[in-house]
């Protein structure tokens, strides 16, 4: 069993948290992620900042620009991953990236460095099923899973193709739109999740728009886990808080929202 399979076999809802690596600095983001983990995150998605985050809303856009302005490089994401891996042996570690930083480094070099850093999975926002073959085999050779994304626009046939042979979990995008917090989730969320269940037995984590105990519970009802992103990143961007304050706010938010689905 890989780490994802172990985490999803614990018989409780899985808590996935996203934070932007290097925002506002690499060290502060690492400390912030520790707070998310002590608040209950089972899997951490390390956002790799990109200059042109076309699938992200204003919060993650801003965090990416802040990180890049403060000298973020992809190497620093590997450093953060290595640190987390040595401190938390059971933590699921995912790099959440756009394709160009990976392509620029070279998929082979990227996969090798990710493996050495203890990364379990990679999620690439702008690599759909159609383009997967140029990166997935390389990742798999290094024991890393490419996490498939399914959206409300994805029909049943396509769901089947995308989720076949999934050895990690399916990231279900709850809304049509970019990342960001929302007060409610779509009415037909459960129907979509049910449709996904019909075609795949892989575990499902639902993300996008979840930021409160209410939205967390709504999303968790038909899924095996939930992902919270922008709500954490908002805290990362809060200039009024010192690093320690951000860490404790992250821990509190994790306890509140992840706790609501446990």
């Amino acid at each position: 069993m890989n780490r994802f399979q172990k985490i999803f076999s614990r018989n409780r809802k899985v808590a996935v948290g996203y934070a932007t690596s290097g925002c506002p600095t690499a060290d502060e983001s690492l400390e912030f992620m520790r707070g998310m983990i002590s608040g209950g995150a089972d899997i951490l998605e390390l956002g790799v900042p990109f200059s042109d985050p076309t699938a992200d809303g204003p919060v993650i856009q801003q965090s990416s620009q802040t990180a890049l302005r403060n000298g973020f490089t992809v190497s620093k994401a590997f450093d953060i991953a290595s640190a987390l891996r040595s401190e938390y042996p059971d933590l699921g570690l995912v790099l959440f990236s756009y394709y160009n930083p990976i392509f620029s480094m070279g998929p082979e070099v990227f996969a090798e460095r990710a493996r050495k850093a203890g990364v379990d999975g990679v999620l690439i926002v702008d690599v759909p099923f159609e383009e997967r073959s140029e990166i997935e085999p390389v990742l798999n050779e290094h024991g890393i899973e490419l996490i498939p994304l399914v959206s409300p626009a994805t029909g049943p046939e396509r769901m089947k193709k995308i989720t076949a042979n999934c050895r990690s979990f399916i990231y279900y995008i709850t809304v049509r739109g970019v990342t960001g917090t929302r007060s409610t989730l779509p009415d037909d969320l459960q129907q979509h999740l049910a449709a996904l269940r019909k075609v795949s037995s892989a575990p499902v984590a639902a993300g996008f728009g979840i930021s409160s105990p209410e939205t967390a519970r709504a999303a968790a009802a038909g899924a095996d886990g939930i992902v919270i992103g922008s709500a954490f990143v908002k805290i990362q961007l809060d200039d009024t808080l010192p690093a320690a304050g951000k860490r404790s706010r992250a821990e509190a938010l994790a306890k509140l929202c992840f706790g609501a689905v446990r």
């Binding site: 200059s51 042109d52 076309t54 160009n100 392509f103 995008i173 049509r176």
Partner: protein
Amino acid sequence: MKNTHYDIYGGQYVAETLMPALDELTAAYEKYRNDPGFTAEMNAFLADYVGRESPLYFAERLTEHCGGAKIYLKREDLNHTGAHKINNTLGQALLARRMGKKRLIAETGAGMHGVATATVAARFGFECEVFMGEADIRRQQPNVERMAMLGAKIRSVTSGTGTLKDAMNEALRDWVATVEDTFYVIGTVAGPAPYPAMVKEFQSVIGREARRQILEKTGKLPDEVIACVGGGSNAMGIFAGFENDPSVKLVGVEAAGMGLETGHHAASINGGRVGVLHGSKSYLLQNDDGQVLDAYSVSAGLDYPGVGPEHAYLHDSGRAQYTAVTDEKAIEAFDLLCRLEGILPALESSHAVAQAIVNAPRLGKDRAIVVCLSGRGDKDMENIRAYKAGNKILTCD
């Protein structure tokens, strides 16, 4: 159609939410591109609404000035809305109408594609929103006003450097949330498949006409066809007419801005390396870590860090050559065309004219060069005035 790549270039690097929309678009495009009813409708609008065919004009005094090959200008500046952009927006709007979409969105840099989209939206009764970087809104005021008069809503984009790349990012973000009723009218031969092939096909009318016209006028094929390349739609349109004529040299002209060596340019092929942006793999201006760099050109329409994937392919295969022309040389060419021919070209097109001025003297007087004069320059007057006043340009910073 599953031919989404040009060798290693092209592809569909987009969020999963957009894939079903691209599949729907591909299916509709494949269905209608060879549909006689669609073609007839398109041709009728091209003739009576756009004003095609556009003339192929012998630039006699420019030719004399250069002292070499005869220079012919394909006058896309005489189209309705003043540029080649409408050939494409017309095609996409007719397709959107058949697909039952209610709303058109577009990105724009210089504003020409925005105006062309707003125009067809008005003509066919679509809602229309145009995404435009705030820096471009400042330097292209006349086009902003034109779009507003045509009933389009302008969405000012403040992220990044507020130029074309950021406008395209924002249009993609909008489309992810609105795919069901919205058609994204991409203005160039970039973006995910099927856009590069579809936009080429809608623009290929330029090359088809130009080939026939030059044969009528000179009895033979030209030696060179020259066009400016930002994303590359006017170039791909005119190249399309000559791609199967191996004797015709195809020349794409990128914007060298302040000079390739300065790093302040928009020459993706001459100064970038292969990368992935906005849905396709092509040459891209980027740093060592794969972060996209800001392009720079005096011409807002060329100010884009990427280039259409088929251009990358034509470059690698050697079928087309890609040169680069600085702001300074483009403005000299602009002046020359104004004074010698009474034609005020767009700054984008001035880059192609500048290359023709260099190439013509190298060829004999019995030779011919066809230049795609992709648009008119009225929109650029303020920029040119500022540049000449020594302020260089109204930059984004």
